[in-house]
């Protein structure tokens, strides 16, 4: 921390070596540490990862400032990573300590070697707000995955304490979706995209509550923690604080605006306080579609007691249902695609990484990962319905998570739908209330042709017409 204005809390020279890692460009710098890209010196031999994100926490005994709280924060993050490994939490490969007496700023710093993400929800949101303000494409899928992370964290007995878009990381799309992209049919969000990260403020529950350091991000802090009393052990937090933050985040992702009015965080904080005091009602954006409305409303219940009724597993059930039915309105995506096409190069500069645009457009995958691509029906991702140009899941595939009222121009444009009838279909949907798929030769669901139940896979008859729309229904 030689120069606070530089915004880099821990300056690490490029090329710096630690363990099997060589430090590259800085990725981010937060209030508590700095994150750098790194690659393995041995090129990722023996199945080890070749790339990682290195998080430097200035905990050295010889750092110029003896920052006690940073040591506490580093300790929290390490403990969580060691005790709690879950698919939706960013993975820690190892933890190292810098041993470099010649660099007193760095010596003794704790280094967490973390899974390398492609981008963050914050970067994606700021990109979308530039090109097409409004709901985020694939919002439903993202929220389901964020909620999964929360359920995993809470299930393991932890409170995140700082859930916000900057701490929701997005991974590069894997090989499976690259195959789907090749056939022109990828959803806006791959099924395995989200990782929750940044556990500096996470706290392990002691019974029903935990003590967290008294830091927070005002826009995501529930009213009972704004200006709350602080004891000697820190601030009392409960899992309902994460539920509030999820409600704020869901509103932002689904509508493009924060749930509370005001042009600055301070103004929004005052709106939250007056809402919590019962002086102002909750006025959610009219753009918030109905099944989400109830979810956001419950997450933003003004007191811990009311919010406690809605735990992460129950929210996960509801977000899955909402995402399966209503979240895939095609309009915003089409708008976005046009806007991005027009915005061109300028956008690429603004995106935190080219991967963000790739992610948004479901285009070619940013990661060139080598692994066995699934074949046939196995290419159809969980939660999707997939149509194929040849029998038994062979040939080109188009797949959808949601409904599509016109395959040629809608949410996902299916390049062969205008010329070729599908020859087989697989409904790889998830459990819920809308599980079957009926399909139509006309757009806007005209002239129902057939229907397939959940997990059904079958060849379509030889005389099958070309199809143009489909939707999820309760049963066939």
């Amino acid at each position: 921390m030689t120069d606070p204005r530089s915004g880099v809390a821990v300056p690490v020279p490029a090329g710096f070596r630690i363990g099997r890692w060589e430090v590259g460009e800085p990725i981010a710098s937060g209030a508590f540490g700095s994150v750098y890209a790194a690659r393995a010196v041995d090129g990722g031999a023996a199945g080890e990862p070749a790339e990682a994100a290195l998080k430097f926490l200035p905990t050295g005994t010889r750092t110029p400032r003896q920052l006690h709280h940073l040591r506490d924060l580093a300790e929290r993050e390490l403990t969580l990573h060691r005790r709690c490994r879950q698919p939706r939490l960013i993975r820690m490969y190892e933890a190292l300590t810098v041993d470099a007496p010649e660099c007193p700023d760095l010596d003794g710093a704790t280094v967490l070697v973390l899974e390398r993400a492609e981008s963050s929800l914050a970067a994606l949101l700021s990109l979308v707000s530039l090109v097409a303000p409004g709901p985020l494409p694939g919002a439903g899928t993202l929220l389901v995955q964020i909620c999964e992370g929360l359920a995993q964290l809470h299930g393991a007995g932890w409170v995140h304490g700082d859930l916000k878009p900057g701490n929701v990381l997005l991974m590069a799309q894997g090989a499976g979706s690259a195959a789907a992209a090749g056939s022109g049919a990828a959803d806006a969000v791959a099924p395995d995209t989200v990782r929750l990260a940044d556990f500096n403020l996470a706290a392990e529950l002691e019974g029903t509550h935990a003590y967290s350091p008294a830091f927070s991000t005002p826009d995501y802090t529930p009213p009972e923690l704004l200006w709350s009393e602080i004891g000697e052990r820190g601030r009392l937090v409960r899992q309902s604080a994460d539920i509030w933050a999820f409600g704020v985040l869901a509103h932002l992702v689904l509508t493009g605006t924060p749930p509370f009015p005001g042009g600055t965080p301070a103004a929004r904080r005052d709106a939250v306080l007056s809402y919590a005091q019962g002086r102002g009602g909750l006025r959610l954006s009219p753009a918030l579609p109905s099944p989400w409305r109830e979810i956001v409303r419950d997450c933003l219940a003004p007191t811990h007691e009311e919010r406690a009724a809605h735990d992460a597993p129950s929210l996960l059930r509801r977000t899955k249902e909402a995402a399966g039915t209503a979240a895939h309105a095609p309009a915003p995506r089409r708008r976005l695609r046009r806007a991005v096409a027009a915005g061109g190069a300028a956008l690429l500069l603004m995106a935190a990484s080219a991967g963000v645009t790739a992610l948004l457009l479901g285009g070619a995958s940013g990661a060139a990962q080598e692994s066995k691509a699934p074949a046939g029906y196995d290419r159809c991702k969980k939660g999707h319905v997939c149509f194929f140009t040849e029998s038994t899941g062979k040939g080109d595939m188009c797949s959808w998570f949601g409904f599509d009222e016109d395959w040629r121009t809608g949410t996902i444009s299916c390049p062969w739908s205008g010329s070729t009838p599908p020859r087989s279909v697989f409904n790889n949907g998830v459990d819920g209330s809308y599980t079957a798929v009926s399909y139509y030769p006309g757009d806007d669901f005209r002239g129902r042709q057939g229907c397939i139940s959940r997990l059904g896979r079958t060849d379509l008859p030889a005389g099958q017409e070309k199809l143009r729309s489909h939707r999820w229904v309760k049963s066939c």
């Binding site: 606070p4 900057g166 008294a214 709350s228 009393e229 602080i230 965080p265």
Partner: protein
């Protein structure tokens, strides 16, 4: 969730602090209650009108309404070397930017005062980067130019300078230590700042807190342990005690 504290003048009135939540309104004047049943600070002086004005807690700051037809009210910043604002007769909702303020009402040949604190003022963390992102904020925004920061630095000095279990300085020792940068410091002023720090840092009152005995000591101890735990004062900031403000 209060954001504003009104401290009546010690002479006359009940002398009890009044805590206001954002949006709450406190009337002040000679009458003992407001017509609309709202909260009222009574200033028992015949030179003050019945409904002299209103204070509205507005988020982290407050506004002053002057109901008087002829008199200008002055709001001073007691630590601001003469810094003040004037609120003209009839002005409604004038915003007051000071963390500490003293409202001065002219009444006959006297000047009546009461204090208003706004302990929730926001300050940026001097170490945080400014990349425009959503910054995880410090929960304790301290103004490093205020006297309370001097007092806090003096309280933490022995433990920051390598003696983690050193006894805390007494109030007299603090007065002595601060003499070069704050010549007018006195016991009462230092004690006042320690009390204010406990409010500012939102210290939880220990359950056994009594009205007398070891309570004050406990408060000082809690303030220091919280400040050290969260690095509210850092070793390189002790320069303020010698008049050097480090960025």
């Amino acid at each position: 969730m209060f954001s504003i504290i009104v401290v009546p003048s010690p002479c006359g009135g009940s002398g009890e602090q009044i805590r206001l939540e954002p949006g709450e309104i406190l009337g002040f004047g000679r009458s003992e209650r407001r017509i609309d049943g709202g909260r009222q600070l009574t200033i028992p002086h015949c030179g003050v009108s019945r409904t002299a004005g209103e204070i509205t807690a507005t988020g982290a700051y407050w506004t002053l309404t002057n109901h008087s037809a002829r008199q200008t009210y002055v709001v001073e910043n007691p630590e601001g070397a003469g810094e003040h604002i004037k609120v003209a007769p009839g002005r409604i909702g004038a915003p007051v930017p000071f963390e500490f303020a003293r409202v001065v009402l002219p009444a006959a040949d006297e000047l009546l005062t009461f204090d208003v604190w706004a302990p929730r003022h926001d300050y940026a963390d001097p170490l945080a980067g400014s990349d425009g992102g959503e910054v995880t904020a410090l929960a304790f925004p301290l103004d490093r130019t205020k006297r309370y920061f001097l007092v806090l630095a003096a309280l933490c000095e022995p433990r920051l300078s390598g003696a983690p279990h050193a006894p805390l300085p007494t109030t007299d020792q603090i007065v002595e230590r601060l003499r070069p940068v704050w010549p007018a410091a006195g016991r009462a002023a230092v004690q006042w700042n320690i009390d204010y720090l406990a409010v500012k840092l939102r210290l939880k009152q220990p359950p056994e807190s009594a009205d007398c005995g070891p309570r004050l000591n406990g408060k000082k101890e809690s303030v220091v342990s919280l400040a050290l735990r969260f690095d509210l004062v850092r070793e390189n900031e002790l320069g303020v005690l010698d008049g050097v403000l480090t960025a």
